[in-house]
Symmetry: C2
């Protein structure tokens, strides 16, 4: 499938282009490789808003020194199963990959391990990290904090981020469970679409600027996204910030700098990676059989709408990856032009 | 405060009564002490539906052999930071306390540690475990699976549980962050209340028996609770079952036996306890200062409704505990009579 605004591009070609673009931005080849690995996986999964399109904001911030091109990344072993990572204000996916690898190393030794990461930036979506961990046999809980866009439950100003939280469990024959979620009911883009269409929104999506639930998309865009399950999603968003930001010695809540308002300043974002080596809990065959049974039970539920069978989180992303590895990646033409420009082509 | 249906009872008196009741049910003194510690904390927190009132269902199942009075609890060290616990079909809070202590021990050594528990039963709410862990300096992620009551997202029959998931982080001067949540938007009791009041319910609460969202409380009670955030809460409920049930070698999804339908059979419920020793990440003073600042930032948000200031998860429970430790525990008279009967008084 190719439309006027999209091009099909083969994975190796996009990988090489991304590599060249990030090297041209001043990243050493190995570091550019880490960044591209994460963002390319996002594109393969179909998460194009969190894929190589990020070259735009990353590039601007690298240009103006808001993100460090050649960070000194420091890794400290705080305990047999714990590492503290200081990302030195490097590109988020680079710092994230250092955190993931460090966590894998200690989890391999102790059966469980964690990396607490500070001094970082936007690290892409969570699912590429969950995927890489699952491929090596690790179950994972991974999160990052984010710029403040959500009001505390019952409050009236933005004091916490729409922090992503993700989980993974190695599946049978690569069918990994991968859950990657932010804490808002919907993304702001859905509210913008309602405004364009002249439609009201459900009163569970957002509040107006005074913190009151609203069905008016315009008022909602001036207000705050509501978290899933009200106080439950508020609690989960706080939890992610506590683990990713507060315990990591990174910034948290309103201490996190906005990359939109202050692109030239370090954000000091934080991440956490908790990994469990599933091979210490049972054999690969034991796990594969249970995971296949788990998926079969869910798939066996008769769908409420015949054309929409029940799915297990991760299936859409893995299906997109399989298809795009064969048929090519559906890639936005404007982003492709930007990548080529950054690559000096 | 004392109403006709409630009595104020001092904590030591309720503790002694609970101890005597569970010993009379056949539990050895130390085991009864574990069970009572968890359930009494639930009562102190104000979570009376998950407190000593559980003597009713636990007692019935202990009487008919559905729960083992004197289980052989086996603890296996699977890796330096990992323990596998087989609860031998003991009372849930007893097995849970073994899991918590085992996880604390390995987390103390490795900085992070986990217990994966099988062969258990309903273990009470999560917050007592989070509290006990936080008192010892551990941040925690704890969960349990449960009898199936929720349909897969887009499915039409109950194939997963409304599994509880909880988190804790040690706070300044005992003001621990404690989040304890199930995955449904509301509990079934709220739907029953709407039915009694002749009121419709929001269409986000539940589906009818064919899996379609409904505003009719009667149809909802014949159907399934909806998870928070739709597919997000569905994913979280699955994640809890994967960690608590599947990875623990316990039952999962439809393999979990219902204690209502088959009270005389072992459920083989599973739990997981992931603990992080925060003292390995920084000093107690460092953490306390950050936690106090974290809470102050949230409290500083002007409330949308003046009489409802912003709170941090855990504050309600800890405030209830402080009040009830001084003034006595507000305890249901019928439950008190049952406890006395079980205690042979």
């Amino acid at each position: 499938m190719s439309t006027s605004s999209k091009t099909l591009i083969a994975e190796p070609e996009l990988q090489a282009l991304g590599q060249r673009a990030f090297e041209a931005l001043g990243l050493p080849p190995g570091d550019a490789g880490d960044v591209v690995q994460v963002l390319l996986l996002a594109d393969l999964f179909g998460l194009s808003t969190h894929g190589l399109s990020r070259i735009e904001s990353y590039g601007e911030r690298l240009d103006m020194g808001g993100i460090c091109k050649t960070p000194r990344i420091a890794i400290e072993r705080a305990a047999p199963g714990l590492v503290k990572v200081d990302g030195g204000n490097g590109a988020g996916p680079l710092v994230g990959m250092h955190g993931l690898r460090a966590a894998m190393e200690v989890a391999h030794e102790c059966g469980i391990g964690a990396a607490f990461v500070r001094g970082s930036n936007h690290f892409g979506p969570v699912s590429p990290y969950s995927y890489l961990a699952a491929e090596q046999g690790f179950a994972s809980m991974i999160g990052s904090n984010a710029t403040t866009t959500i009001a505390p439950w019952g409050g009236t100003d933005a004091r916490l981020g729409n922090s992503p939280l993700g989980f993974g469990v190695p599946g049978s024959q690569g069918a990994h469970f991968m859950l990657d979620m932010a804490m808002s009911v919907v993304a702001r883009a859905k509210i913008r679409n309602a405004l364009k269409a002249g439609q009201p929104i459900p009163d569970t999506w957002a509040t107006d600027s005074t913190g009151r639930a609203t069905t008016d998309p315009k008022a909602a865009l001036d207000g705050f996204l509501l978290p899933i399950g009200g106080h439950k999603g508020y609690g989960l968003a706080l939890l992610v910030d506590l683990f990713a930001g507060l315990l990591s010695d990174a910034a948290y809540l309103t201490h996190v700098k906005s990359w939109v308002d202050a692109p030239d300043e370090p954000q000091n974002l934080g991440h956490f990676f908790v990994l469990i080596d599933t091979r210490r809990l049972g054999s690969t065959a034991w796990l594969a059989a249970r995971m296949a049974d788990f998926a079969a039970i869910l798939h066996g539920s008769t769908p409420a709408q015949e054309e929409r069978p029940v799915i297990v989180p991760g299936e859409i992303e893995l299906r997109n990856m399989a298809r795009q590895r064969t048929a090519g990646i559906e890639f936005d033409n404007a982003t492709l032009a930007l990548l080529r420009q950054r690559a000096g082509l």
